[in-house]
Subunit: 157 residues, 2 copies
DNA sequence: TGGTATAACATGGGAATTTATGGGAATCAA
DNA sequence: TTGATTCCCATAAATTCCCATGTTATACCA
Protein backbone atom coordinates (compact mmCIF):
# COMPACT_ATOMS: atom_id res chain seq x y z
CA UNK A 1 0.00 0.00 0.00
CA UNK A 2 1.39 3.36 -0.96
CA UNK A 3 1.79 6.04 1.63
CA UNK A 4 1.23 9.00 -0.63
CA UNK A 5 -0.75 9.72 -3.72
CA UNK A 6 -0.42 12.54 -6.17
CA UNK A 7 -2.04 13.17 -9.50
CA UNK A 8 0.90 13.89 -11.79
CA UNK A 9 2.09 13.99 -15.35
CA UNK A 10 0.35 15.15 -18.48
CA UNK A 11 -1.25 12.55 -20.71
CA UNK A 12 -3.43 12.88 -23.74
CA UNK A 13 -6.18 10.33 -24.36
CA UNK A 14 -8.78 9.98 -27.03
CA UNK A 15 -12.44 10.63 -26.52
CA UNK A 16 -14.30 8.07 -28.61
CA UNK A 17 -17.60 8.38 -30.43
CA UNK A 18 -19.51 7.36 -27.33
CA UNK A 19 -17.82 9.99 -25.23
CA UNK A 20 -15.60 7.59 -23.35
CA UNK A 21 -12.06 8.45 -22.22
CA UNK A 22 -9.47 6.26 -20.57
CA UNK A 23 -8.54 7.58 -17.18
CA UNK A 24 -4.72 7.46 -17.04
CA UNK A 25 -3.56 4.22 -15.45
CA UNK A 26 -1.75 6.06 -12.68
CA UNK A 27 -4.94 7.81 -11.68
CA UNK A 28 -6.81 4.55 -11.65
CA UNK A 29 -4.20 3.11 -9.34
CA UNK A 30 -4.79 5.98 -6.92
CA UNK A 31 -8.51 5.32 -6.89
CA UNK A 32 -7.91 1.66 -6.19
CA UNK A 33 -5.37 2.31 -3.48
CA UNK A 34 -7.38 4.92 -1.63
CA UNK A 35 -10.73 3.25 -2.05
CA UNK A 36 -12.17 6.63 -2.92
CA UNK A 37 -13.83 7.82 -6.12
CA UNK A 38 -13.09 10.34 -8.81
CA UNK A 39 -15.20 13.47 -8.76
CA UNK A 40 -15.26 16.02 -11.58
CA UNK A 41 -16.65 19.51 -11.93
CA UNK A 42 -16.22 22.57 -14.12
CA UNK A 43 -13.19 24.59 -13.13
CA UNK A 44 -14.14 27.95 -11.66
CA UNK A 45 -11.15 29.68 -13.14
CA UNK A 46 -10.29 28.03 -16.44
CA UNK A 47 -11.99 26.47 -19.43
CA UNK A 48 -11.21 22.99 -18.22
CA UNK A 49 -12.63 20.16 -16.17
CA UNK A 50 -11.26 19.69 -12.71
CA UNK A 51 -11.18 16.42 -10.83
CA UNK A 52 -10.10 15.05 -7.48
CA UNK A 53 -10.89 12.28 -5.05
CA UNK A 54 -14.19 12.42 -3.29
CA UNK A 55 -12.14 12.36 -0.10
CA UNK A 56 -10.84 15.83 -0.83
CA UNK A 57 -14.29 17.33 -1.29
CA UNK A 58 -15.32 15.62 1.88
CA UNK A 59 -12.47 17.30 3.64
CA UNK A 60 -13.46 20.63 2.16
CA UNK A 61 -17.01 20.11 3.38
CA UNK A 62 -15.78 19.37 6.89
CA UNK A 63 -13.68 22.48 6.97
CA UNK A 64 -16.56 24.63 5.89
CA UNK A 65 -18.78 22.98 8.43
CA UNK A 66 -16.44 23.71 11.30
CA UNK A 67 -15.34 27.10 10.15
CA UNK A 68 -15.95 30.00 12.49
CA UNK A 69 -14.58 32.37 9.95
CA UNK A 70 -16.93 35.31 9.46
CA UNK A 71 -15.26 36.20 6.24
CA UNK A 72 -15.76 32.94 4.56
CA UNK A 73 -18.96 33.93 2.86
CA UNK A 74 -17.19 34.15 -0.44
CA UNK A 75 -15.68 30.74 0.05
CA UNK A 76 -19.09 29.47 0.95
CA UNK A 77 -20.38 30.56 -2.40
CA UNK A 78 -17.52 28.94 -4.20
CA UNK A 79 -18.06 25.75 -2.31
CA UNK A 80 -21.70 25.76 -3.27
CA UNK A 81 -20.75 26.10 -6.89
CA UNK A 82 -18.42 23.15 -6.68
CA UNK A 83 -20.81 20.86 -4.91
CA UNK A 84 -23.65 21.84 -7.16
CA UNK A 85 -21.58 20.95 -10.14
CA UNK A 86 -19.57 17.98 -8.98
CA UNK A 87 -20.42 14.45 -9.90
CA UNK A 88 -18.89 11.06 -9.29
CA UNK A 89 -17.23 9.35 -12.23
CA UNK A 90 -16.40 5.71 -11.88
CA UNK A 91 -14.53 3.86 -14.56
CA UNK A 92 -15.54 0.64 -16.26
CA UNK A 93 -13.57 -2.59 -16.44
CA UNK A 94 -11.33 -1.19 -19.16
CA UNK A 95 -10.60 1.98 -17.20
CA UNK A 96 -12.78 4.47 -19.02
CA UNK A 97 -15.06 7.17 -17.69
CA UNK A 98 -17.84 8.94 -19.54
CA UNK A 99 -17.74 12.65 -19.05
CA UNK A 100 -21.00 14.58 -19.20
CA UNK A 101 -21.87 16.84 -22.09
CA UNK A 102 -21.81 19.79 -19.72
CA UNK A 103 -18.22 19.19 -18.67
CA UNK A 104 -16.99 18.51 -22.19
CA UNK A 105 -18.64 21.69 -23.45
CA UNK A 106 -17.11 23.78 -20.69
CA UNK A 107 -13.66 22.57 -21.63
CA UNK A 108 -14.27 22.59 -25.35
CA UNK A 109 -13.27 18.96 -25.57
CA UNK A 110 -14.35 16.95 -28.56
CA UNK A 111 -12.05 14.18 -29.66
CA UNK A 112 -9.10 14.22 -27.32
CA UNK A 113 -8.54 15.13 -23.70
CA UNK A 114 -5.37 16.13 -21.90
CA UNK A 115 -5.09 15.09 -18.26
CA UNK A 116 -2.85 17.38 -16.24
CA UNK A 117 -1.80 16.40 -12.73
CA UNK A 118 -2.04 19.00 -9.95
CA UNK A 119 -1.17 16.99 -6.88
CA UNK A 120 -4.37 16.42 -4.96
CA UNK A 121 -6.36 17.43 -8.01
CA UNK A 122 -6.06 17.18 -11.75
CA UNK A 123 -7.46 18.97 -14.76
CA UNK A 124 -8.72 17.87 -18.13
CA UNK A 125 -8.10 20.18 -21.07
CA UNK A 126 -8.78 20.53 -24.72
CA UNK A 127 -5.43 19.95 -26.44
CA UNK A 128 -4.97 23.36 -28.03
CA UNK A 129 -6.10 25.21 -24.92
CA UNK A 130 -3.63 23.31 -22.80
CA UNK A 131 -0.73 24.09 -25.10
CA UNK A 132 -1.50 27.77 -24.73
CA UNK A 133 -2.12 27.52 -21.02
CA UNK A 134 1.16 25.77 -20.37
CA UNK A 135 3.05 28.39 -22.33
CA UNK A 136 1.27 31.09 -20.38
CA UNK A 137 2.13 29.53 -17.05
CA UNK A 138 5.78 29.04 -17.92
CA UNK A 139 6.10 32.62 -19.05
CA UNK A 140 4.44 33.77 -15.86
CA UNK A 141 6.69 31.77 -13.62
CA UNK A 142 9.87 32.91 -15.32
CA UNK A 143 8.73 36.48 -15.16
CA UNK A 144 8.21 36.32 -11.43
CA UNK A 145 11.35 34.41 -10.63
CA UNK A 146 14.34 36.05 -12.25
CA UNK A 147 16.61 33.51 -10.63
CA UNK A 148 15.16 30.86 -12.87
CA UNK A 149 15.92 30.99 -16.53
CA UNK A 150 14.01 29.24 -19.24
CA UNK A 151 15.97 26.33 -20.58
CA UNK A 152 16.76 26.54 -24.23
CA UNK A 153 18.69 23.39 -24.97
CA UNK A 154 17.58 19.85 -25.45
CA UNK A 155 14.02 20.74 -26.33
CA UNK A 156 14.54 19.07 -29.64
CA UNK A 157 11.32 18.98 -31.59
CA UNK B 1 14.84 2.29 8.81
CA UNK B 2 17.53 4.87 8.28
CA UNK B 3 17.38 8.28 9.94
CA UNK B 4 18.66 10.29 7.03
CA UNK B 5 19.06 9.89 3.36
CA UNK B 6 21.04 11.79 0.78
CA UNK B 7 21.34 11.34 -2.93
CA UNK B 8 25.08 11.49 -3.54
CA UNK B 9 27.86 10.63 -5.92
CA UNK B 10 27.99 10.82 -9.69
CA UNK B 11 27.41 7.69 -11.71
CA UNK B 12 26.99 7.13 -15.39
CA UNK B 13 24.66 4.43 -16.69
CA UNK B 14 23.62 3.31 -20.11
CA UNK B 15 20.25 4.00 -21.62
CA UNK B 16 19.26 0.94 -23.65
CA UNK B 17 17.19 0.69 -26.81
CA UNK B 18 13.96 0.57 -24.84
CA UNK B 19 14.83 3.70 -22.91
CA UNK B 20 15.66 1.88 -19.71
CA UNK B 21 18.35 3.05 -17.27
CA UNK B 22 19.57 1.44 -14.11
CA UNK B 23 18.88 3.64 -11.14
CA UNK B 24 22.10 3.72 -9.08
CA UNK B 25 22.00 1.07 -6.37
CA UNK B 26 22.38 3.67 -3.62
CA UNK B 27 19.31 5.50 -4.84
CA UNK B 28 17.36 2.28 -4.92
CA UNK B 29 18.31 1.64 -1.33
CA UNK B 30 16.91 5.02 -0.36
CA UNK B 31 13.63 4.26 -2.05
CA UNK B 32 13.37 0.94 -0.26
CA UNK B 33 14.25 2.40 3.11
CA UNK B 34 11.88 5.33 2.93
CA UNK B 35 9.04 3.40 1.36
CA UNK B 36 8.58 6.28 -1.02
CA UNK B 37 8.96 6.47 -4.79
CA UNK B 38 11.14 8.30 -7.23
CA UNK B 39 9.60 11.24 -9.05
CA UNK B 40 11.25 12.96 -12.01
CA UNK B 41 10.54 16.18 -13.87
CA UNK B 42 12.25 18.61 -16.22
CA UNK B 43 14.53 20.99 -14.38
CA UNK B 44 13.30 24.55 -14.62
CA UNK B 45 16.78 25.97 -14.71
CA UNK B 46 19.00 23.51 -16.54
CA UNK B 47 18.85 21.13 -19.46
CA UNK B 48 18.63 18.13 -17.20
CA UNK B 49 16.15 15.87 -15.50
CA UNK B 50 15.58 16.39 -11.82
CA UNK B 51 14.40 13.76 -9.38
CA UNK B 52 13.41 13.43 -5.76
CA UNK B 53 11.25 11.30 -3.50
CA UNK B 54 7.51 11.49 -3.84
CA UNK B 55 7.44 12.37 -0.15
CA UNK B 56 8.92 15.73 -0.95
CA UNK B 57 6.20 16.65 -3.40
CA UNK B 58 3.56 15.20 -1.15
CA UNK B 59 4.59 17.61 1.55
CA UNK B 60 4.17 20.42 -0.93
CA UNK B 61 0.73 19.17 -1.89
CA UNK B 62 -0.32 18.96 1.74
CA UNK B 63 0.64 22.55 2.34
CA UNK B 64 -1.74 23.61 -0.38
CA UNK B 65 -4.57 21.46 0.76
CA UNK B 66 -6.53 23.62 3.15
CA UNK B 67 -9.74 25.27 2.10
CA UNK B 68 -8.18 28.66 1.55
CA UNK B 69 -5.89 27.24 -1.07
CA UNK B 70 -8.55 25.15 -2.66
CA UNK B 71 -9.54 28.16 -4.72
CA UNK B 72 -6.22 29.92 -4.88
CA UNK B 73 -5.40 31.13 -8.36
CA UNK B 74 -1.80 31.91 -7.52
CA UNK B 75 -0.99 28.38 -6.51
CA UNK B 76 -2.96 27.04 -9.39
CA UNK B 77 -0.27 27.94 -11.86
CA UNK B 78 2.49 26.53 -9.76
CA UNK B 79 0.83 23.20 -9.16
CA UNK B 80 0.12 22.81 -12.85
CA UNK B 81 3.73 23.40 -13.64
CA UNK B 82 5.17 21.14 -11.00
CA UNK B 83 2.77 18.23 -10.84
CA UNK B 84 1.87 18.41 -14.50
CA UNK B 85 5.45 17.77 -15.39
CA UNK B 86 6.41 15.32 -12.68
CA UNK B 87 5.91 11.60 -12.96
CA UNK B 88 6.41 8.62 -10.74
CA UNK B 89 9.12 6.22 -11.79
CA UNK B 90 9.25 2.86 -10.11
CA UNK B 91 12.03 0.49 -10.95
CA UNK B 92 11.68 -3.11 -12.02
CA UNK B 93 13.22 -6.16 -10.37
CA UNK B 94 16.60 -5.40 -11.93
CA UNK B 95 16.54 -1.79 -10.76
CA UNK B 96 15.77 0.02 -13.98
CA UNK B 97 13.39 2.87 -14.68
CA UNK B 98 12.06 3.96 -18.05
CA UNK B 99 12.37 7.67 -18.58
CA UNK B 100 9.82 9.34 -20.81
CA UNK B 101 10.66 10.73 -24.21
CA UNK B 102 9.85 14.19 -22.94
CA UNK B 103 12.41 14.03 -20.16
CA UNK B 104 15.13 12.51 -22.33
CA UNK B 105 14.60 15.18 -24.96
CA UNK B 106 14.79 17.97 -22.42
CA UNK B 107 18.13 16.72 -21.17
CA UNK B 108 19.41 15.74 -24.58
CA UNK B 109 20.03 12.21 -23.36
CA UNK B 110 20.30 9.43 -25.88
CA UNK B 111 22.51 6.53 -24.93
CA UNK B 112 23.96 7.31 -21.55
CA UNK B 113 22.84 9.20 -18.48
CA UNK B 114 24.82 10.72 -15.64
CA UNK B 115 23.18 10.69 -12.21
CA UNK B 116 24.40 13.50 -9.96
CA UNK B 117 23.47 13.52 -6.29
CA UNK B 118 22.21 16.78 -4.78
CA UNK B 119 21.14 15.75 -1.31
CA UNK B 120 17.36 15.61 -1.19
CA UNK B 121 17.29 15.67 -4.96
CA UNK B 122 19.37 14.43 -7.81
CA UNK B 123 19.83 15.30 -11.45
CA UNK B 124 20.27 13.30 -14.61
CA UNK B 125 22.48 14.77 -17.32
CA UNK B 126 23.66 14.11 -20.80
CA UNK B 127 27.34 13.20 -20.43
CA UNK B 128 28.85 16.09 -22.37
CA UNK B 129 26.54 18.65 -20.80
CA UNK B 130 27.48 17.46 -17.36
CA UNK B 131 31.19 17.76 -18.03
CA UNK B 132 30.67 21.37 -19.03
CA UNK B 133 28.28 22.07 -16.20
CA UNK B 134 30.64 20.70 -13.60
CA UNK B 135 33.48 22.80 -14.93
CA UNK B 136 31.23 25.83 -14.91
CA UNK B 137 30.15 25.25 -11.34
CA UNK B 138 33.69 24.70 -10.12
CA UNK B 139 34.87 27.86 -11.77
CA UNK B 140 31.96 29.75 -10.30
CA UNK B 141 32.57 28.51 -6.81
CA UNK B 142 36.26 29.22 -7.01
CA UNK B 143 35.62 32.74 -8.21
CA UNK B 144 33.24 33.46 -5.36
CA UNK B 145 35.17 31.81 -2.65
CA UNK B 146 37.21 34.80 -1.47
CA UNK B 147 34.02 36.64 -0.59
CA UNK B 148 32.67 33.70 1.27
CA UNK B 149 35.67 32.95 3.42
CA UNK B 150 37.57 35.67 5.22
CA UNK B 151 41.06 35.66 3.78
CA UNK B 152 42.91 37.31 6.62
CA UNK B 153 41.73 35.35 9.58
CA UNK B 154 44.90 34.74 11.51
CA UNK B 155 42.78 33.91 14.49
CA UNK B 156 41.05 31.06 12.79
CA UNK B 157 41.25 27.83 14.62
C1' DT C 1 48.94 -10.02 1.25
C1' DG C 2 47.75 -11.92 -2.86
C1' DG C 3 44.42 -14.39 -4.89
C1' DT C 4 40.09 -16.45 -5.34
C1' DA C 5 35.19 -17.32 -4.17
C1' DT C 6 30.93 -14.81 -3.65
C1' DA C 7 27.78 -11.43 -3.96
C1' DA C 8 26.01 -7.22 -6.07
C1' DC C 9 25.34 -4.71 -10.10
C1' DA C 10 24.60 -3.21 -14.91
C1' DT C 11 22.76 -4.62 -19.10
C1' DG C 12 20.71 -7.44 -23.12
C1' DG C 13 16.78 -9.74 -24.88
C1' DG C 14 12.42 -12.27 -24.99
C1' DA C 15 7.99 -13.39 -22.73
C1' DA C 16 4.04 -11.97 -20.31
C1' DT C 17 1.10 -8.31 -18.83
C1' DT C 18 -1.07 -3.85 -18.99
C1' DT C 19 -3.00 0.02 -21.57
C1' DA C 20 -5.50 2.51 -24.71
C1' DT C 21 -9.02 2.05 -27.88
C1' DG C 22 -12.60 0.16 -31.17
C1' DG C 23 -16.84 -2.21 -31.67
C1' DG C 24 -20.83 -5.31 -30.50
C1' DA C 25 -24.25 -7.11 -27.28
C1' DA C 26 -26.92 -6.50 -23.20
C1' DT C 27 -29.39 -3.41 -20.10
C1' DC C 28 -32.00 0.54 -18.88
C1' DA C 29 -34.99 4.66 -19.09
C1' DA C 30 -38.94 6.98 -20.73
C1' DT D 1 -38.94 1.39 -29.50
C1' DT D 2 -35.26 4.73 -29.53
C1' DG D 3 -31.44 6.54 -27.60
C1' DA D 4 -28.29 6.07 -24.34
C1' DT D 5 -25.47 3.79 -20.93
C1' DT D 6 -23.08 -0.19 -19.33
C1' DC D 7 -20.75 -4.48 -19.95
C1' DC D 8 -17.87 -7.51 -22.43
C1' DC D 9 -14.61 -9.07 -25.94
C1' DA D 10 -10.80 -8.08 -29.35
C1' DT D 11 -6.43 -6.06 -30.70
C1' DA D 12 -2.24 -3.47 -31.23
C1' DA D 13 1.13 -1.09 -28.92
C1' DA D 14 3.54 0.01 -24.94
C1' DT D 15 5.23 -1.42 -20.52
C1' DT D 16 6.75 -4.49 -17.19
C1' DC D 17 8.55 -8.91 -15.71
C1' DC D 18 11.88 -12.39 -15.80
C1' DC D 19 15.96 -14.93 -17.00
C1' DA D 20 20.75 -14.86 -18.73
C1' DT D 21 25.34 -12.93 -18.94
C1' DG D 22 29.38 -10.17 -18.28
C1' DT D 23 31.45 -7.06 -14.98
C1' DT D 24 32.67 -4.98 -10.80
C1' DA D 25 32.96 -4.84 -5.98
C1' DT D 26 33.32 -7.25 -1.57
C1' DA D 27 34.47 -10.98 1.43
C1' DC D 28 37.18 -14.55 2.70
C1' DC D 29 41.00 -17.62 3.12
C1' DA D 30 45.53 -19.57 2.90
Amino acid sequence: MRKTFLFMDTVSNKVDAKGRVSLPADYRAIVKDTGSEIVCYRSLSSPCIEGCLEDLLDKLASEMENSLDFFSAAQDDLTNLIFGDAKRYSFDSTGRIMLSEKLLAHAGITDSAVFVGKGRKFQIWNTENWVQEEARIRAEVFKNRPSIRPVNSGEAK
